[in-house]
Symmetry: C2
Subunit: 131 residues, 2 copies
């Protein structure tokens, strides 16, 4: 295929230093969450084998599960055609990726009337994160 | 669970009118692409049953596959806990979501040395999109 390169690099400049990163369950294919990585977060993810993001609200490097122990173990990392979206396939320790205690952040499903809550939390966030 | 609402609304304001939308194969769970929706794109997606995005490069509503016929048929739409990421589960007509002809945009895999091309295109983009 002409013009198709064999390597791709992450393009942090396009998004002001941040690239969206989709976390997908490595076994089931379920999409668990989406957050952002800066260059340091990607680098730490690659070297440590545990997913690191950049927290936009706290403006700091965020080792997911670093406090609760509910880390995301990296199984595979992919980059898209334009280098501006990352996909991490992971094992989610503790069973839930969402701060609400739900397994996936995507627990609101379009019903025809609106996006309605579906499913139950796996854990009580107050127990895991404290109040 | 206290504080957990039963409905969620898309929050377009947070991202300047745009929300990232992840397209996932409804059958296999494979993540095919990520693009953006504005309010009109989401509305058209919901009413037509075919995925519409907002093209940031062309600054216009983008009916995916509208020209090539390789549309994305909506099977399910989900919203995340914060209302700022959309997940669409789809059937990809024509077999490929990526403009390169690859089935998925995420065809660069981390090898330990870099993100390296994996797999073959499903179609020749020059034939589908013209030169």
């Amino acid at each position: 295929m002409s013009g198709q390169e064999n390597k791709q690099k992450p393009d942090f400049a396009k998004g002001g230093g941040l690239i969206p990163a989709i976390a997908q369950d490595a076994d089931t294919g379920e999409i668990l969450m989406m957050a952002f990585m800066n260059e340091e977060a990607l680098s730490k993810t690659l070297t440590s084998g545990e997913v690191h993001y950049w927290s936009r609200s706290r403006q700091e490097l965020w080792h997911k599960g670093g406090t609760s122990g509910h880390v995301q173990k990296v199984k595979e990392i992919r980059l898209d055609c334009d280098g501006d979206v990352i996909l991490v396939k992971i094992d989610q320790v503790g069973g839930a990726a969402c701060h609400t205690g739900h397994r996936s952040c995507f627990h609101f499903r379009w019903s025809g009337q609106g996006f309605e809550l579906e499913g139950e939390p796996v854990f009580d966030p107050e127990e895991v994160y404290g109040k």
